[in-house]
Symmetry: D2
Subunit: 289 residues, 4 copies
């Protein structure tokens, strides 16, 4: 069923929902789902509404809805976005050698669990080519020379930039991509790069979190799906989860258990992003699952 | 902060939220929280809105809000209810000898986690008197003679009826009350008697669920908080949860682990009920947590 | 690291562990892991020991260890089994059209998470051929004619029998195989056929458990991995887990969430079986994870 | 049922279990439970055995068992401890104003879930006196003057020391005691002071973890039960758990949810300690639950 998804962020005040739902109802629009949140700390209001496309008059499509909505948006000083489920988001995955996240996302995509197009996977290694191409997805290898100096790195990400442009990527998913992105690359895509970190952030930020967890003797390990910002491991958190471990689990076994948490946390986070269920609130997120 | 909580159930159609929020905004009402659900199967719509009392004009209290709302309710054929957080619900607990649920609810009530009055605990045994009275709550013992015939039982529940009437009980919580309620007693209080069943229903309905679970060799045990109907263990489910067990756990250990699940599931279910977060949808519930 | 895994079941009495570990230590055997359980109800004792193969004298292999162990086994009336991790178990999957369990198991097998050989997948449909063959695994389609009479069904399972024989299958995994197995087929493989049931048994046994769960309005759904016996959905439970759902989830969404539980529960159950961590105790299991 | 619990730590080598169980079996001792762990990293071996007291010859009590065990302990260079379940550990709680952990532990103790004596609760405030004394437990108030200088603090902990001595405390539980212990006080009781920290360590160490969690926007909060060492929040972790929260939860609501995790994590950790299920392994723990 085709739907339009309207997401709104604005200063909180009386009458926002009445104005938005009044406008939609005035055009006969049927609301399938709606969720809202008022943040008492920041004074910001967050709203997400799914409208059944066919309930609007024929000829009244996304452009007409947006135009009709403009005055309301201006009145309430809204940042807003209107998605059309018929225009699927284009997702490009970045990966290295580890395949568990890529395999899981491609499986779910093929099974219809993720409403998006996946035109391409980019990796700095050749290892995942077979897996990716079997799913009918282009595989592009952009190697990162060991000990690459800033210029070399800059060339690498210039190439990745060009591929993303060419593929018209809406979202970039770091599916265990083991390279640090240049700050400018991140800054150009706020809220559009999703990473999976293999720890329960802020615990064990940085490299080798399973070894850190093993050394500290924690009783649960976790994973964190977050938007990437220029500050490593500090971006807004979308989703997290944990799994129980015990003294008998080696660092290798933590990795095995951890792969399962990573896969499910990343898949949930990405699905919510694709369905416009994640709104940014400063360095935090509002998630309407 | 004083709030009015409006809960609505009605046939789903265009314009419900616009009409309700429009009315509230028209009186300057500030919405703190709102949640909605359209049930595609039954075609029913469910809405819960929390309004900041002080945002409405002075002199415009619950009665005035209800009167103003009446035309909207009629237009959309709504079943609705308006609560005022200053008028706390009155909860009476029924218990037998086991104290874990009573102790937990009284603790949470005293700690301010449950917004209600607890005027009285009724039990068919004397065991819990000390615990209850230490919390400053009346304790009423209404024994049920062993092997009571229907007439004797009827007298018992007549007495309980009178106490509930006298205490002006809004909600009855069966906190491990080990007697079966007469159908008429249940029918008189639809959606107002809450039970905690010590299994993950519909598994192990009936008596001694931990023994049934032990015999079957399940790897998780659970608890179910549900509204009581005339059909035993078949009422609408409010909340459930499970805990992991293993082959080394005896039936006694299942009971110990189970007590923890029961306490937390019942406390969550009751809190949601007290905050008007649970709406009935046939034999199911809509919960806006 | 090559290991011998000894599993033992016998009547409980004094001296079992001393006798077994004494024999192992007497040959210089190093124990990597050991776990035991005495069942007070049945009076049975369960033991699992992993021995580092290289710690035993050269020339003292599984056959020699078994021979040395025989007198102890006789003395204590033991049922016992000795596995050698170098002799990987051979697993044949049975599936129908749904691919989530097959895809997950093949992924984990290829990733080295499951220590076994997977020579073949058998299905009553052609749908999974591409997926299976991409993993380098033989795919055998054995159709079951719609409305097959007993003779036709008997022919089908005769064919499956022959394939299992030919592939020297140690374990059969029903990875969402939508056919009921003939009792004789089950009886011939006690503790060697593993099924994944898409509910938290004993809730919602039988067909269409997600629809049953949706109709009942439960707040958690689950999955159960169990050994298959002649009595449908009644075999010994190996592993179970649950996931939270809510009133907003359609029966389709329950299926999506449920697929994730099924995959992880089946993978854990199979891994434990492959590592000889599951011992039968009547219609229950002892699991040493 | 009276049991002797033997816990052992020693360098890992062939024959430990055979020697220990051989000795026990030689005296006719019946083993109720046993668990072991070999730590590949440190090369240390950990063993816990529960022996049914009545299975040993009459007159062969803990002292005789210990004497008989001494040669084995020497041979294998063991650190070991023998507990007698008839000699219940004495637990003293330290608390401040918050009552949720104290109330929960006293409830469980009274309900028979914690096998120990609780002679006394010490607090730096008077608030919990009524609760504690209702349970028949002595309440001692040892105030800590605001802005106490080192000398004043030293006097406070001298007084606490004397009370612990007088009460013959085996274990000290910091049940939300909001004072930092002097290093010497900690050093004198290695593995005998248990703290509950209201975060999933190492995340949000230090003060006000729920505020830190709220500010960071995490999607789960947790609690950590650990042994106290001179280094704040860095001691060996016994148990941890997490609960899901969302953007709608205020810092106050995190505290409410958090109290439930704290209570259950502390109760589990303490129960395991009381049953000698927690063995120290450097700055980590081995837990045989």
């Amino acid at each position: 069923m085709r739907r339009y998804i309207l997401t709104i962020t604005c200063p909180d005040r009386v009458g926002i929902v009445a104005a938005v739902t009044g406008l939609i109802a005035g055009h006969g629009g049927s609301v399938l789902e709606a969720a809202q949140h008022g943040d008492l700390q920041s004074g910001r209001f967050f709203l997400r509404i799914e409208i059944v496309a066919d309930s609007l008059p024929s000829g009244f499509g996304p452009a007409e809805l947006a135009a009709a909505f403009e005055p309301v948006a201006t009145e309430f000083d809204m940042e807003w976005h209107l998605s059309d489920t018929e225009r699927r988001k284009r997702v490009v995955l970045l990966a290295s050698k580890e395949d568990h996240c890529v395999a899981d996302l491609l499986y779910r995509w093929r099974a219809g669990e993720l409403e998006c197009d996946v035109p391409c996977v980019i990796s700095n290694h050749e290892d995942l080519r077979g897996l990716v191409e079997w799913h009918g997805v282009r595989f592009r290898c952009v190697p990162v020379p060991a000990g690459a100096d800033p210029d070399a790195k800059s060339a690498v990400f210039g190439e990745i930039d060009r591929i993303l442009e060419h593929e018209r990527a809406d979202v970039v998913v770091l599916a265990r991509y083991m390279q640090i992105l240049p700050p400018a690359f991140c800054a150009a895509r706020p809220g559009r790069i999703i990473n999976i970190h293999h720890s329960f952030l802020p615990s064990f930020a940085g490299a080798r979190p399973y070894h850190q967890a093993f050394e500290r003797g924690v009783k649960l390990i976790g994973a964190t799906c977050h938007y990437v910002t220029a500050e490593l491991d500090e971006g807004p958190i979308i989703e997290q989860d944990t799994r129980r471990i015990d003294h008998g689990d080696s660092a290798d076994e933590l990795r095995r258990v951890g792969r399962d948490v990573e896969r499910s946390v990343l898949a949930r986070g990405l699905r919510w992003h694709l369905e416009d269920r994640v709104l940014l609130n400063g360095n935090k997120t509002v998630v309407f699952p």
